[in-house]
């Protein structure tokens, strides 16, 4: 139920975050354990439910529909096999000898044996990469913006563009800014967006400025063929984007010369950083994180504190399919570990989730 008050009986597990990872884990754990899911936003779903399908006339295996399928399986959210609390955050915790006492923002107390963190990731805010002019210059988009538009309004303004450029690794692989990791998803989503754009608007020419092409996950061969046929790969990142008559111009430094390339639009492939919830929760529960802020997963979802688990993208950037699979894996681990030790979970009676 979408309620902000929750029953006062003790729960077996609290799941923090109602994104695809949290909801998948809740779905798997609720037949046997008493589950409550706490979400900060007013609506559940997280990042994955805002993204759009990038299929052309064939499926491009982006994984967005697995998130949508989850929505369908859970029905219309008024009859859930677990409790869902939206619009609430955890202010304080107290460790007891059987678990944790969590204090919510509305001063309610939740008593729980276990905690599962599924707070996820967010896109890097491209305004921080100030030299690329996002937010100040026109015709500059981010990859996440394009995906959200694919989900809602569509991309009608791209019909007027002839030449566009992708800039990869925005916000990732930046050693100086302590974000030296690779976000793993940007090369793939950029190639899929490129394929979708050139299918919808065949007149568009696409240049992709990149460092290293990370072709991972399913349908690598399809991605490789997109990278060879649909886009022109150029291994050079611009140091700055300026504006000339309203159109973006990319500037490159090349042996003390500056070369320029003009485009009608620029898409910044932003990387993934830990969601604000991830950083706050890691602090509240005093979990060890890596230098960026992702919660360290010591194998099978265990964190540095006992009885606290982490799943999904909160432990490292992942695409949607991998996030769901990770949530299933950690949920299974929780079930086997705690049912075998007979922690007396309160059996929630079986019910049909429609």
């Amino acid at each position: 139920m979408n309620t902000s008050s929750v029953s006062s009986k003790p729960f077996d597990i609290t799941i923090i975050g109602a994104g695809v990872a949290g909801l998948t884990a809740a779905q798997l754990l609720s037949p046997t354990m008493r589950v409550v899911v706490i979400e900060n936003e007013k609506l559940p779903g997280g990042l994955a439910w805002q993204l759009g399908c990038k299929a052309t006339d064939v499926c491009l295996y982006c994984g967005v529909c697995h998130g949508i399928n989850l929505k369908r399986e859970l029905g219309d959210f008024s009859f859930l096999p677990f409790e869902l609390v939206t619009g609430q955050t955890i202010l304080a915790i107290r460790k007891t000898n059987t678990g944790y006492l969590l204090t919510l923002k509305n001063d309610q107390l939740i008593s729980t044996s276990l905690v599962l963190i599924a707070t996820g990731i967010q896109a890097f805010d491209a305004q921080h990469a100030s030299l690329y002019g996002y937010g100040t210059l026109s015709h500059i988009y981010t990859g996440i913006e394009i995906e959200k538009n694919l989900n809602t309004r569509g991309l009608a303004n791209f019909a007027h563009y002839q030449k566009i450029a992708f800039i990869q690794c925005v916000g990732s692989r930046n050693f100086k800014e302590k974000r030296s990791y690779c976000s793993r998803v940007c090369c793939r989503y950029a190639l899929r967006i490129a394929e979708d754009l050139s299918f919808q608007f065949p007149q568009i020419q696409i240049d992709m400025y990149y460092m290293d092409l990370q072709l991972l996950g399913g349908k690598k061969e399809k991605l490789l063929s997109i990278s060879q046929e649909r886009v022109r790969l150029i291994r050079h990142l611009p140091y700055r984007v300026e504006s000339l008559e309203g159109k973006p111009v990319l500037l490159f430094e090349d042996d003390y010369h500056v070369t320029r390339a003009e485009y009608d639009a620029v898409i910044l492939s932003v990387g993934m950083i830990p969601a604000p919830g991830t950083m706050v929760i890691a602090n509240t529960f005093r979990l060890s994180t890596d230098e960026v802020g992702f919660i360290k997963d010591y194998g099978s979802g265990e964190t540095s504190q006992e009885r606290i688990y982490v799943c999904g993208a909160a432990s490292g950037p992942k695409d949607i399919e991998t996030t769901i699979a990770d949530a299933k894996r950690v949920a299974h681990r929780i079930l086997t570990a705690y049912l075998s030790q007979e922690m007396n979970p309160i059996h929630y009676g079986s019910s049909i989730s429609i």
């Binding site: 029905g75 959210f77 690779c182 019910s351 429609i354």
Partner: protein
């Protein structure tokens, strides 16, 4: 009384039973209390007995016998599997279940809203009882998995056992045959039934750069796999080792071991190590850190154009001269290499299943189709899965988790919904090829063969019926959309 609602008893098609039909209306979500007034006004027009229950009361309050079940509110969220599940758990004939297509039921309905509902209701009530009964079932496959492949890793078998799944690895020659929802593994000596089949992929190494034969003769050219054990025991002091990676699709595990090995040789032996590649993989657990520490240790990593790379054996035939142009500075450089190590990419060779599977579906190999409705790692045959790797990587663990979920979850299916007309079926095999779940077989004696739809694997998508050129396949009451007139249409008329 509005003539459109006039219940015409003559349309009952010769039914002798009570005209009073029992209708159970299941209201999803919070709509139950709101829906009460809709059902109350129904009773003014139609002689029916209505039970209105909410989704939560479905098991406990379901009437013992009813002629029709209508599901209202949130109906687009009801996919086929959920409907079948409801029918199976309440024991209702799935042909008697209809969903009201309106998504949102307004709390203060106008006359138009009542109108659409009543017209819909009339259509539904007037339809005759289904000719042949059908039933919904829940089938649970055995928790035993057959693993098809060569050299099955112990670790993979152990992971299956942790998930409480028995495994059998059929050796020698064997065939697999469909047996309801399960599969029979038939060897020369015995027949074992399994609930699921996991196919281990066979990989082929791909190395697309040609090493000239005279360089090969120096015997200093090795694949990475052969080089690794040598590197652990030998010392390469003052030597130059060059790794060639001409492929773009190389697994992160290979890159990880490459970084580690290169760094070892540089630090332990003070050798010169150069990796020539097209792309570098840094996406993975710790991979970026490994990449940087390898470079900081002194490993040289250069991206080159492999079409400009040339190799020549040295005069004393103890190494090779390598000429290459780096992308970075575009200068032709020559290096003398003592060792040349080939790092291949990997592609999956499709497993030839034609020798193994007894099925009428005419594909030799099963590859994951472009059908997003299948479970992850599932092949287009219920219960068959393709493992992504033949060693226990994280992805393989995910796949094994899916198989375990499948065996635990079971399958909901309906029996008796479809008929294939023998007279009309011309054995064109279109339905066989169209079915996304390979649920169709060719059956019958040699004189009267026809297509048979296996109800255990059928997911009731209806594609076979719509693609059959002879119109031989009929589905009982699968399409319900034509029963409802949208209010907008009525206004436009």
């Amino acid at each position: 009384m509005d003539h459109r609602y006039q219940f015409e008893r003559d349309n009952e098609c010769g039914k002798e039973e009570n005209i009073l039909k029992t209708v159970c209306i299941v209201s999803l979500g919070d709509t139950r209390s709101r829906f009460q007034k809709w059902t109350d006004q129904i009773q003014n027009y139609f002689p029916v007995k209505i039970h209105l229950i909410s989704a939560a009361e479905l098991l406990s309050q379901f009437p013992k016998k009813c002629d029709l079940v209508i599901i209202v509110g949130g109906s687009t969220y009801l996919n086929r599997e959920n409907l079948t599940r409801i029918c199976s758990q309440t024991g209702v004939d799935p042909q008697r279940v209809v969903t009201y297509p309106e998504e949102i039921l307004p709390p203060f309905p106008s006359l138009n809203d009542y109108d659409s509902w009543n017209v819909f209701f009339r259509r539904v009530i007037e339809s005759s009882s289904p000719e042949t009964p059908s039933e919904a079932f829940h089938l649970q496959p055995l928790k035993r998995v057959a693993i098809v492949g060569k050299n099955v890793d112990e670790a993979i078998l152990n992971t299956f056992h942790i998930h409480h799944l028995e495994t059998i690895v059929p050796l020698g020659s064997f065939t697999l045959r469909r047996n309801g929802i399960q599969y029979d593994v038939i060897t020369n000596t015995e027949v074992t039934t399994v609930g699921a089949v996991a196919i281990l992929p066979e990989f082929q190494n791909v190395f697309s750069f040609n090493i000239p034969p005279d360089v090969d003769e120096t015997r200093k050219v090795l694949f990475l796999k052969e080089f690794q054990p040598k590197a652990l025991v030998r010392n390469f002091r003052k030597q130059t080792v060059v790794f060639l990676v001409p492929e773009v699709i190389v697994s992160p595990e290979t890159w990880s071991s490459l970084y580690a090995l290169a760094q070892l040789i540089v630090q332990r032996d003070q050798a010169l190590v150069l990796i020539l590649c097209r792309e570098v993989i840094v996406a993975g657990e710790n991979l970026e850190t490994q990449y940087r520490t390898a470079r900081e240790a002194g490993v040289l990593i250069e991206k080159i154009d492999f079409s400009k790379l040339t190799l020549q054996p040295t005069l004393n035939m103890r190494g090779a001269w390598i000429d290459f142009i780096t992308e970075r500075d575009r200068i032709l450089q020559r290096l003398t290499a003592d060792w040349i190590i080939k790092v291949p990419g990997r592609i999956v060779t499709p497993t030839d299943l034609s020798q193994i599977v007894q099925s009428d579906r005419l594909t030799n190999s099963m590859t994951r189709p472009e059908n997003i409705n299948l479970l992850p790692y599932a092949l287009p045959l219920d219960g068959w899965f393709e493992l992504p790797d033949n060693s226990l990587s994280t992805e393989t663990q995910y796949a094994i988790q899916e198989i375990s979920n499948y065996c635990q979850h079971g399958v909901w299916c309906e029996k008796g919904r479809s008929t294939v007309d023998e007279e009309k079926c011309v054995l064109c095999l279109t339905c066989l090829r169209t079915c996304p779940w390979s649920a169709i077989d060719i059956d019958g004696s040699s004189k009267r063969k026809k297509a048979r739809i296996n109800w255990e694997q059928c997911h009731l998508c209806g594609l076979c019926a719509s693609s059959c050129p002879a119109g031989a396949i009929t589905w009982s009451r699968l399409k319900q959309n034509d029963m409802f007139i949208c209010p907008a249409e009525k206004i436009l008329r």
